[in-house]
């Protein structure tokens, strides 16, 4: 076990009205990967922001390499060797890889920027990481995985001694995650202290040495990873046991009517000749690697993006879907993977979001019937167990899981029969996750039909009745849940042309 490089002790931080961190402790050691876990809102990100100087702590001490420190800003932390690789990549897509890596401290040749030298230095950095990226490539042309590698290269170029990874794998494919782990193991060997924040249990078991768990802004405890089980960690996080068993067989009767039929859908590079059927009461899983074209397929089907060709039949009748208005009229609701941008209006209340798609049903003459709106919204708050003090609360104040429930309430208020869940539990903590699953199962039991796009294999296997697998814009396979395994799904998902 390596020597301690950084200690945070009794860290306390309050925001107006929120006690975000309550005397939290953390210990980072050289040559070790420390997992930092907790439900959303547990305070992980806040703690890391305090560490890297984005927020000022109210009290507590940070000891780094034997000295007490307080970083004024992220730049000061970087210079000292404490860097963070953010969940959302901070990249300028119209600059080259090398220009991104050296942004803010460009290598100069007199008064001019020396691009050639920066390219050279970038190649050296990539060699250290054993990765191959062309430093003259535009950042925007790289895959998310490659962009993240650049971010890591940027981090080590600061002579980092402590690197914090904030949910690095959220947007990566399985292969890219493998590569990321290789790099992390490498960095570990070199004696760096690494903090790894993730919601994915499997990864924690594979890559980390110790696990520190937080809950509601407090420090719960630290475990040695190899001595504990998944359930141990989850118990510390939520105080309850959750089992994730895959579904054994489809619950949809063989003769269930086909509610949606998509034929030869084409839209851009990412949707090529996609056809599938959805039955009443079915959860149709869409699996595939990142960039397989699943979200694009859903958006083209929903009319959010223009499509080139393809026929859509609802309950056997051909329909024309040019924009989301047509889709909604035909009873399709879309729950985006990016809730804050595409799902909810964060500055508006729970009630306003709930009735967003069905406001015409809440009119009394020219005016909105506020009483009915609040009543219906409150009914959904109760039946979906949304945690919100009132229906007038702005959605921005709710956690990810509760925001997702508000989006679900929106489509239920509209009485949609076909719901497209795009990554329904992304960024949602474990407890709320299983509530969302229960909800989805209730919905199909009531005769709704669900298309569920998910990058989490366990989610696909647990929820789906049937699975469509895509790769690079094409449908590469379809499986009944009884015959689906991780292996054969992955096989289809990597079946390139």
């Amino acid at each position: 076990m390596g020597e301690i490089i950084l200690t945070m002790k009794g860290i306390d931080k309050s925001f107006p009205g929120v006690h975000a961190l309550d005397h939290v402790n953390l210990e980072i050691r050289k040559g070790e990967v420390l997992a930092l876990m907790g439900e959303n809102g547990a305070g992980k990100s806040t703690l890391m922001k305090v560490l890297t100087g984005i927020y000022k702590k109210d009290s507590g001490t940070i000891t780094y390499e034997g000295k007490e420190v307080e970083f004024e800003n992220p730049r000061a932390a970087q210079d000292a060797g404490v860097v963070i690789v953010h969940q959302e990549l901070n990249m300028l897509s119209h600059l080259t890889v090398a220009q991104n890596i050296f942004i803010g401290r460009e290598i100069m040749n007199g008064k001019m920027i020396d691009d050639a030298k920066m390219n050279e230095e970038s190649i050296k950095l990539f060699q250290k990481l054993n990765i191959e990226i062309d430093p003259t490539e535009m950042m925007g042309n790289l895959t998310v995985g490659k962009q993240q590698m650049c971010e890591i290269a940027k981090a080590i170029s600061h002579d980092a001694k402590v690197i914090v990874f904030d949910e690095p794998s959220a947007a990566l494919t399985e292969a890219e995650i493998e590569e990321l782990f290789k790099i992390i193991r490498d960095l570990k060997k070199k004696g760096l202290g690494i903090v790894y924040i993730s919601h994915r249990m499997d990864e924690i078991k594979v890559i980390t040495d110790r696990v520190t768990v937080m809950r509601d802004g407090t420090y719960v405890g630290t475990l040695i990873t190899k001595d504990c089980t998944k359930d141990d960690i989850i118990n510390m996080m939520v105080g309850r046991v959750i089992y994730e068993d895959p579904k054994a067989a489809s619950t949809v009767p063989k003769d269930a009517p086909i509610v949606l039929k998509v034929e030869h859908l084409n839209a851009g590079k990412m949707v090529r000749d996609v056809s599938f059927e959805l039955r009443k009461g079915e959860i149709l899983g869409f699996s595939g690697l990142m960039g397989a074209g699943r979200t694009e397929t859903a958006r083209a089907l929903f009319g959010a993006d223009p499509k080139e060709s393809g026929d859509i039949y609802i309950n056997g009748k051909k329909v024309e879907i040019k924009d989301p208005m047509d889709a909604v009229k035909n009873g399709i609701g879309y729950l985006s993977e990016d809730r804050k941008r595409f799902g909810i209006v964060v500055g508006k209340s729970v009630a306003e979001n709930t009735t967003m798609a069905a406001l015409q049903n809440f009119m009394k003459g020219l005016f909105i019937n506020k009483k009915k709106e609040d009543q219906v919204s409150w009914d959904y708050v109760k039946s979906l167990k949304t945690k919100t003090p009132t229906v007038e609360t702005e959605v921005v104040n709710l956690s990810g899981g509760n925001q997702q429930k508000v989006v679900i309430a929106k489509w239920l208020t509209r009485d949609c029969d076909i719901l497209i869940f795009d990554e329904p539990t992304r960024g949602i903590d474990v407890g709320a996750k299983s509530e969302i699953y229960t909800l989805m199962n209730e919905l199909v039991a009531q005769g709704k039909s669900i298309i569920m796009i998910s990058s989490e294999m366990t989610e696909i296997l647990r929820m789906s009745d049937r699975i469509v697998v895509m790769c690079e814009g094409r449908k590469t396979g379809e499986l009944d849940i009884s015959e689906a395994t991780q292996e054969n799904i992955m096989h289809m998902a990597t079946q390139r042309k």
Binding site: A327, R341, V346, E392, L398
Partner: protein, 356 residues
Amino acid sequence: MQGAAIRLDGAKAGGKDIKLGGRKVEKIKQNPIVKKIGFNRIVLVGVLILMYLLFGALCAIKGRASFFNISHIYSALNYAYFLGFLALGVTFVIATGGIDFSIGPVMFCSALVSGYMLMQMDVPLIVCLLVSILVGTLFGVLNGYLVAYLDMPSFITSMASMMLAKGIGSVFTKTQSVIWPQASQENGWYRSLVKIGSGTSIIPTGLVIFIIASIICAIVLNKTKAGRYILCLGSNKEAVRLSGVDVKKWEALAYILCGMLAGIAAIFYVGAYTTVQPGLGDTFNNEAIASCVMGGTSMAGGIASIGGTFIGVLIISILQVGILAAGFQIDLQYVITGIIVLVAVYADIRSRKRRN
């Protein structure tokens, strides 16, 4: 936002900690009356009264005629009417997250075109008044179509239509000023829409109309589908579009309302001042937008307050009249308005940061 929160679960009264998404949220204690009216608006009314008293003191110190004279209130109100209609309209546009820099010149264009028709072409007055509203509305349709349906940025679009409005007004009148008839002259009855200072009636018709118009706008913004969608799309247009809402229609409607109100503003402008010169009007954009921002309407869209705009208009009007009455150079008004706008925008940005 508007009004007090409706608390359906009763038990959790203000002041107590409540659990929200796993975090403790301490509800700040608030006086229910303050909450209902809104803290901002109380401050604004305070500013309005203070400003009135300040100019009173300045006039007294400088030995000028007393500011506490009804005639000053009359001229402030005359200014408030047309400015008010401009500001009410642009509140809707700003609520969508857009901006309209054409309203002042559009108002002048309406007044010029309809006035020219009245004076030079012998078109009946009532038709001319309708033409005035129509011209404004057409500019609104143009702006709305370009911004909402062709996705053009509202800033540059409205700059271009400002040029159009100025140019059309000048070309139509052959660069002549238009002088609308006096109250005593034939066709002068339109001036009784304003009717303050003319003496015959004590009812300030203009004020009554302005208040009614403000109430209607507040109802449209807060109680109707149009207002709801305008505010929501100002906050997150893409999310509203993906809810199957015809966002283009509602966004365009905000500009059309704004143009129509600019057309109505033209009637109140000539009602107060009778003379319209071509090629002007830009300063009123700034004053109208300043009134909105001061009143708590967020330039980022999604948040708007008609009540705030109403008081903002009064503040600008008092400022305009007060500066003249106290014997300062009129341009000082721009300095003060500029400072007020900067403070208001800064406050808006601060409160946004706090909320996130």
